[in-house]
Each structure stands twice: as C-alpha cells, then as structure tokens.
Amino acid sequence: MTDLRVEGLQVAYETRPGERLVACQDISLTVASGEFVTIIGPSGCGKSTVLHCMGGLLPPTQGRVLFGGDEVVQPNPHNAAFVFQDYSLFPWKNILENVGMGLTFAGAGKTEIAGKAAEKLDFVGLGEFAHALPRELSGGMQQRVAVARALAMEPRVLLMDEPFGALDEQSRRTLGSDMARILEQTQRSVVLITHSLDEAIFWADRIIVMSARPGTIIEEIEVKAPRPRDLSMMTEPEFQAIRVRLFDLIQLQQAKKAPQPLAGGR
C-alpha cells in the first residue's frame, strides 16, 4: 500500500521580477506504508523543498502530491507530521505541553491531550521531564520531544527535515539509531532528509539521491539489511559499498558545481 505519492513535482521561486529559480523538478516518488525513505543530496538541492511539499507546507509550482489518493493542499498533521531541524519547541511551554501542542491545535480535550502527550513522552524515554522547560534539555533530548510531538498526532507518515543536523557526530549516531528503533516499533512510514551518508543508509529501506540544483532524482538505492539494525551495521561490507556509491554520486555533483574539487583530482 502506498502512503504518499509525488508526481512530477516542480518548485520554482521568483527571486526577482523576471528571474526564476528552480529549486527542484521532475520529482516523482512513492512512499509505501511502513517504509523508511531517506532523501540525500548536496546542500541546496531542494530536498527540504520536496519534504515541505509532501507535507503541504509549500504549494508545488507543477505536479502534485497525493496522500492515500487525495491531493495534499494544506498540512494535515494526522496524515503527515513534521519534525524540523531546529526542534522548534515553544520555550514558553513545558515539555508535556509542547508534546501535546498538535492535539491542542486540533481542539482535543485537556485530559486527552495530557494522557496522549505523557504516553508519547514515555515512548521516547523522556517521561520524567514532563514539567521541565525545553531549554533545560540537551539538543538531542529536545529533538526527541519534537518527535514525540509529531507522534502524538498518530500520523501515517513522519516527515523529518535533517532532524539531527544541529547535533554533534556522536549524539547524532546514538540518537539516530535510538530513534530508528523507536520508529520501527511505531510501524509508521518515515521520510528523512539528511546530508549525512551514514544516516541516509542506516535509516533507509530506500535511499533517494538528488542532484545539485535544480534538484532531480538521480538514483534510488535499496538497502536490504534486516531490521532491527544497530550501529554495527555500519561496519558491514554492504553498508560500505552503498556508502562508496553515495559518496561518488554526491561528491561528483559537488565537484560539478564547484570547479576546484577539494578532495583528490579525478
């Protein structure tokens, strides 16, 4: 079964009168139920733009996004909920209130909100921080809260926009593998944007590789490693092979963009 279908998507901005900037074009992809899809590409390739369109935050210039057969015209967090790179928790609300924010917006009752929020907070392992404030938590913990906030909506798809981008290498590995395990349990589809090769492979059932701007899909790679996965997967030959392939694709793109490659003349 298919959750999300993107058909011939193009997004263009008018930067100045008469000057059009095409962020991405000819994007067609599907996300099956329960599938983990990662989208990777050089920075500025429009991968976040694609994600924003998938969640209805941005109207496509051409093409369309379908959710279970219906065209997506505005965000519906019950279908697809976002996790943003900068966490974007509300500093004036405590953790529990932050987790319940989407339910509050949806007009749910107070006890229902508190119950569901507490459940999801426990689920990401932060139950004891219900009454803390966002600034009292580390970046990794704040991002878990943001995931709990998205999960509280019981969405079919989770749209994650470089969720670990602001963390250091170590925390992003641990949090990443943690998070991947947690999301496996929820049986939800996940679309994850990243520019980290390791992240892209570790999370994915399928990796979508995008070219530099204007971003198009240049390759799709399936990752067949069994789940649940743990960090030892990163040392296996299959992982390394895909990593080399991705490095090639993305490094190639970067080199095309900037005429003087930094790493090794080819």
Binding site: L57, G102, F105, E136
Partner: protein, 281 residues
C-alpha cells in the same frame, strides 16, 4: 555538564547577593544625604519657609493629613482613576495589537501611527479632554488611558510582528487556527514585549493622572496638592507630594509584580537539571 553549570549558577548567585547588599547600603546612604541636606537647609542653612518647610513640620502635616476624611477620599479618587485608566488602556491596547498584527498590511499601516502617538506629548490634548468629558474623573481616566494606550499597543504589535518564523511554521504544520496561533504561539513568543509595554503603561498612567489632576480637576490628590500650593500651605503640599510618591511606588510595585515575566510551567524546576547530564552524551 549539569554540575558545573549549577556550581556556576551558585557562584553567580552569591556574587549577586553580595552586590545587592552593597547597592542597598548605597541607596540608604543617598537617602540619608537627602534628609541631612534638608535638615541642614531648614536649620543652619536658613532656607526660606516658603521654599522648603522644615522636615518636622512636613511630617506633622502628613500625620494630620492621614487622619482627615478629605485625604482618603482624594486618595481613593486618584487610585480609582489610575486603575480604571490602566485597565482600559491595557485591554484596548493589547487586543488592538493582536488585531493589527494579523495581516502585514494592517501592521505596516498602523505601526507608524502608534509610534507617533507614543512619542507625541498627549498632555497637549488635555484641555480638549476637559472640554469633551468635563472636569470630573472622566477626563482624567480618558486622558491617562489614551496616553498609556500608545506604548501598550505599539509594544504589543512590535512583539507580535517579531515572532520567530520557526514557531509560526510549527503552527502551520500542526494545523493551528488563527485564534490558536494567537493564543499559544504569538502570545507566548511576544509575552516579554507585551509585558514591557504594560509596565511602561503603568508609569504613563501614574504620571498622566496626577498631571491631569494638577492641571484641572475638582478631586483627587493632585487637586489637593494644587490647592495646598495655591494657599501657601507648604508643609501640606510637601506632605501630599510625599504621600503621592508612596502611593505611586506602591501601586507600581503591585502592578509590576503582577506583570513580571514568569517562568512558564513552573512546577518542577530543579528535577530536570540532574538527569540531563546522563542522557546528554
């Protein structure tokens, strides 16, 4: 990490405590200097009674004033005017700020007007208020509320307009209605600005009410002050001025405490800091 941070906090707290006791000692010293200068001026300094009455006489005037019905009635009138004017300015100013912040067009059109109103000395219009509303308490309330409205509305609008885009994006992504966005996102993000507008409003109301009573009225502490001055009851005049100071400072403190930026969701503040260290890595 959490332990070094708490140690740092404790040190900062101790330094602040030491600092604040020095500040209070200096404040007391300044007060003593003023009192000393007053005593010297009216005693050996031979300053005219008409310029500065002796401190003792001012205090006995205060003692007399607080036993009279006239004083308490006047005080009641003045405090009533201040509270009503502030309430009016706050309600109208804040709600108009929210209304104007809803679209960029409204905000851009109205912001300069509000800032001009903020800078304009509204007291120049006081004679008009007298004309429109009469010499009673209505004109004081209308004038003071108008004067305080501008800083409140201006700060509210500014605060609401500068809400970080990333919070608004969460609202859109999670399907917040406009009302929910106002209530849960914009009000929270703009809270410090709105509160600072309200605190400015408090000061403006105080000044405006007393000024209006001095300039033209038939009741209130400002009116009594004006009467004492014109009949050369100098100790009474100084007495009322000092009592007015006490009233204004008290009222200001009470309202400021009510409007202080509070820590949101304050329930278990210390609990969170410790386990944070383990989960950090």
């Amino acid at each position: 990490m959490a332990t070094t941070e708490s140690a740092f906090r404790a040190r900062a707290f101790r330094a602040r405590a030491k600092h604040s006791s020095t500040v209070w000692a200096l404040r007391l010293l300044l007060l003593l200097i003023v009192v000393g200068a007053w005593l010297y001026g009216t005693g050996p300094g031979e300053i005219s009674f008409l310029i500065l009455p002796p401190l003792g006489e001012v205090f006995s005037a205060i003692g007399g004033l607080v036993t009279t019905q006239v004083f308490w009635t006047a005080l009641g009138v003045t405090v009533f005017e201040m509270l009503v004017a502030f309430l009016l300015a706050a309600v109208v100013g804040v709600s108009l700020g929210f209304f104007l912040s809803r679209t960029p067009l409204r905000a851009q059109a109205s912001e300069p007007l509000l800032s001009w109103g903020y800078m304009f000395p509204v007291v120049l219009l006081y004679p008009l208020f007298l004309l429109w509303v009469g010499v009673g308490i209505g004109s004081k309330i209308a004038y003071a509320a108008t004067a305080a409205f501008f800083p409140i509305a201006y700060n509210t609008l500014r605060g609401l307009r500068s809400v970080d885009e990333k919070y608004l994006k969460v609202g859109v992504a999670f399907g917040a209605s406009r009302l929910a966005t106002d209530r849960h996102i914009k009000a929270g993000a703009a809270r410090p600005m709105i509160l600072s507008g309200l605190r400015i409003g408090v000061s403006v109301v105080m000044i405006s009410v007393v000024l209006a009573e001095l300039l033209g009225s038939n009741a209130g502490l400002g009116y009594e002050l004006q009467r004492a001055a014109s009949t050369l009851r100098l100790p009474d005049e100084y007495g009322i001025a000092l009592l007015l100071l006490v009233v204004a400072v008290t009222l200001q403190r009470v309202l400021e405490l009510a409007l202080r930026p509070r820590r949101p969701g304050q329930k278990a503040p210390s609990r969170a800091t410790e386990p944070a260290a383990q989960l950090d890595e």
